[in-house]
């Protein structure tokens, strides 16, 4: 056994130092990652797909076949190509809206939670008022009033209507961090408010913020789809929502053209399910108490210890054979003892 005060360098040399082994991600995380990766790859595949989304390859609702996996839509465009372009647009809108909403929410939440007092009352008052207004109505009103709707304006509009609950959640976290001792130490070291917020408060709630961001992205993709289905989507661009809008407008459901509305619906479902699952499994990554697979980890550790013990016993017995030690027989027995202890 190593001495209790063994230097750190020895620990680094040990097989345990593989950083990925200690994280031990759950199956849930991998499933979520595969779903999200599939959707992202689908969005990017539009760049290498031979037909463009605006290219006319057939007539109204040609059924799948003839080299077209999902046939054509109402304009005679290849549904797969439109789906790829639409997925990309939806992901971009989701990401931009998520960044906008998370930035506003975290900024307001951090300041009100940390500073407290009348500023907190004011900011939380504003947040509660915004929270009380149904955001879909605000979204529709802003979208109508914009002279031209692009994917960027849509993303920003979605972002600035969905920050309030992030702000409230971050405020609660920040006000709990604000009472910790290291904040006092930072103040005594002469740090100013922005530095304390960014270096002493934000890192402590970062895991929470990342999870909130993932939810915001998923929510924004769905909000875009809802707006686009109502006909308020980005003009001149394809998105999952506009695809559904045209499918509805041209009676795809009534005429049985399932290939026009099912693919975008399934992708939307996968996207939001994937992001929600990712958020839930991130919780396990950040919070060790929720981690699964503890038993497997312990089995692995036991197996590792047993292997170490076997190696130790083998090297000892070799040494003993070389030295022709009369007491050599006792050492492998001791080694076996360690091995059994390790397995148990």
């Amino acid at each position: 056994m190593s001495a209790p005060n063994a230097p750190l360098t020895d620990e680094k040399a040990a097989p345990r130092s593989n950083p990925f082994r200690s994280i031990n991600l759950s199956t849930r995380f991998w499933v979520a990652l595969v779903l999200v990766a599939f959707v992202v790859v689908l969005g990017m595949a539009g760049w290498v797909y031979p037909t463009g989304p605006g290219e006319k390859v057939g007539s109204l609702y040609d059924p799948p076949g003839n080299g077209l996996l999902f046939g054509t839509d109402n304009f005679g465009h290849d549904v797969v190509s439109v789906l790829m372009a639409g997925t990309r647009t939806s992901l971009i809108i989701g990401l931009v809206a998520g960044i906008v909403a998370t930035t506003i929410g975290v900024a307001i939440g951090l300041i009100s939670g940390f500073v407290g007092g009348w500023l907190e009352e004011l900011l939380m008052g504003v947040t509660n008022v915004v929270l009380a207004i149904p955001s879909i109505i605000v979204l529709i009103l802003i979208s109508i009033s914009l002279p031209q709707s692009t994917i960027w304006s849509l993303a920003i509009v979605i972002g600035i209507t969905s920050w309030p609950w992030t702000a409230r959640a971050v405020r609660a976290q920040a006000s709990s961090v604000a009472t910790r001792e290291h904040i006092d130490v930072a103040r005594l070291s002469g740090s100013r408010l922005p530095s304390i917020l960014l270096r002493d408060v934000l890192p402590y709630i970062l895991s929470y913020t990342v999870m909130a961001f993932v939810l915001q992205v998923s929510g924004a993709i769905l909000a875009e789809a809802a707006l686009s289905m109502l006909g308020l989507g980005p003009s001149g661009a394809n998105s999952l929502g506009t695809q559904l809008h045209w499918a509805l407008a041209f009676q795809a459901v009534a005429s049985g053209a399932w290939w026009a509305f099912l693919p975008p619906t399934i992708i939307l479902t996968l996207v939001s399910f994937g992001f929600l699952l990712l958020q839930a499994s991130l919780d396990e990554v950040f919070n060790p108490r929720l981690r699964r697979g503890k038993r497997r980890q312990m089995k692995q550790a036991a197996a590792r210890r047993a292997a170490d013990a076997r190696a130790l016993a083998a090297s000892r017995s070799e040494q003993d054979d070389d030295a022709q030690d009369p007491e050599g027989a006792a050492v492998p027995a001791a080694g076996r003892g360690i091995q059994e202890g390790g397995v148990a």
Binding site: D184, A186, L188, S189, G190
Partner: protein
Amino acid sequence: MEQITTAEAAGDRTDDMFSHSVVTGEAVLACENVTKEFSVAGGKVVAVDDVSLQFPAGSVLAVVGESGSGKSTLARMLLRLMPVTSGTITFRDQDVTRLHGGHLRGYWREVQAVFQDPFASFNQFFTVGSLLRRSLHLAEVPKDEADDLIEQCLGYVDLTPDQAMGKFPHQLSGGQRQRVMIARALMMKPTVLLADEATSMLDATLRVNVLNVLHDLKHDLGLTVLFITHDIGQACYLADRVAVMEHGRVVERGTTEEVIFDPHGDYTKRLLADVPDLKGSLKRSA
């Protein structure tokens, strides 16, 4: 009660506070009639009640009391990390009770602190080096002297930059962490160092180690140390003067000899009786 009556010739007794010898010499930091009330559901809690204390320059003053006696609240008010409900705090005869902004940071250049929990005091995401460098702005040192200052301050607490600078808090032992915290406080070259239960969470050997560091600092740098503890033994080991607090009030104060070896307040006597010593043992008395 009779004992107290006979001692009144030597001391000064008001209401329920017994004052032995009075502070002579210049008080660097002082608080006068400081009170702190917290609003809680259904009323108010008076955490610190009309406390007046003087901290003579270059000495160690211990504030002793059990949990909830208001010691830490008093410390936070003296540090200006918490506003007072009423009363004044003066530093070198200047009222610092309502300082803010740059003036408050100027005050922290003179009055620094070490806290109880040697882990909670650290931001776990940054190294010791970045913690110490953070103080450079307040310490007002030119860039080329920064490394020298850091090395010097770590030297006061028996650490070298190699041992500490690149380490994260969790890579240090409890005693090392607390010594790094003392080094951080010294970066500003303060005149007053406030140690709020700075040794409570350390084990016995490290505790003496940190107490000795505090003693050496007082000796070598002429630092005024305000040592807040619930442990009357540590107060006795380190302090020149002792103030005893109970339920937010100072109930007895004087030099260490006077308070600890000739206590007059009932509460002080009770605190002293609670100190476990080597002679009295539970096993023997049973």
